[in-house]
Amino acid sequence: MVTQIIQYFQTNSGEYWQEVGQHLFLSFSSLTIALIIALPVGYLGSKNRGVAIFCESFAQILRIIPSLAFLFILIPFIGTGIGPALIALVVLALPPLVVNTILGFNEVPVDLEEVGLSLGMTNGQLLKQISLPLALPFILNGIKLALVEVIASASLATYIGAGGLGQLIMTGLGLYKMQYIVIGGVSVALLSLIAMFIFDLIIKKVRNDDQRNY
């Protein structure tokens, strides 16, 4: 097994790094797009009851539908390949982002907002100086959850022809070649763990900066 794994890296390391790159590209571009959509929608949701209810029902429904089923169902409508995979991943990343953004803004104490306004802040200044910083820990938590979801789903996106590290596992399962399964599995697991670690560091740093400011 070990020799087979070493052999794989000797002959296919180019292909391997390409799959890693593809996986990262899929995960981070979909996360970025999802964030651009989720932040304003989440902010609106914290102000408007209707938007919030819509977002929460949407999140509830997506939570019950398996991501795998969601990826497959989209094929007849948007086809296969990288584009459709991106669309699917963006949709899957939205629920944790939107729900936690709404939660974050709702958790900002009303008194503090009133104090801000009575000190003469405009709505924009209030958002930038009071609401956003106080909602940030919740939003970061949402991003972390979305990242886990996206990296996991990106490994399944290989079934709709988008490549990524899932490709290795799929090939391994298809040909029953254990070295592919192990390399693919370990790589996806590591990618997810490293992403989590980096993110935990960021959250910790934001928290420390917060404490220094007060």
Partner: protein, 214 residues
């Protein structure tokens, strides 16, 4: 759609039962382990936090990779699937149970001791009943997420409703994919409803009173 059902109903029912068995077995195992772990470690806060952290790392490993990595250890099939699903549930259950127990106002614990309860009595008569709502919400979250993840177990030949999704993917037909999705969602909803009924019976009236105030 209907024609497909007529032709494959026996198989579809069997797959649904298999899916339910897989998920419920893993949930039961996770529940038993969670209760034991909490009973042992309840008074050792650092140990418990460490445990939860370890499980959170495992939880962030994408399920596709997790399934794949168990093949060299426990082989293809249902056993591997149940192990993976149990790990995911374990994290959700531990976290929600602990939060539920820690959120109990410490005054109650002091009064419980003050009226002459032993540590075990405090746990079984005060902490556990007061944490029941949190325990049930944890069970529901674990149930919904493992129901969805279980579809991926089809890739390691564990059967279940994922089989229908992959059949559709391989034959290029939407109908099996739709059926797979519908049956998974329906199964999840039915299990959640049963869980809710169970909750109503076990928690009796006090929670209703507590929520509505009167």
């Amino acid at each position: 759609m209907i024609q497909y059902w007529q032709e494959n109903s026996t198989r579809m029912i069997n797959l649904t039962i298999q899916h339910a068995q897989m998920v419920l077995t893993s949930l039961l195992i996770a529940l038993v382990i969670a209760t034991i772990l909490i009973a042992i470690f309840l008074r050792k806060k650092n140990w418990l936090n460490l445990l939860i952290y370890i499980f959170s790392l495992l939880y962030s490993v994408p399920s596709y990779a997790f399934f794949a990595l168990l093949i060299p250890v426990t082989g293809l099939g249902e056993t591997s699937a149940i192990i993976v699903l149990a790990f995911y549930s374990e994290y959700v259950l531990l976290r929600t149970f602990i939060t539920g127990i820690r959120n109990i106002n410490t005054n109650y614990l002091e009064v419980a001791k003050g009226v002459g309860m032993t540590n075990t009595q405090v746990f079984t008569r005060v902490q556990l009943p007061l944490a029941l709502p949190a325990i049930f919400s944890g069970l529901q979250v674990a149930l919904a997420s493992t129901m969805a993840i279980a579809t991926i177990a089809s890739t390691i030949s564990a059967g279940g409703l994922g089989d229908l999704l992959f059949e559709g993917l391989q034959t290029g037909r939407v109908v099996p994919i739709l059926w797979g999705t519908i049956l998974t969602v329906a199964l999840t909803l039915i299990c959640i409803i049963i869980l809710k009924l169970l909750e109503n019976i076990m928690i009796s009236d006090w929670w209703e009173v507590e929520k509505t105030g009167r």
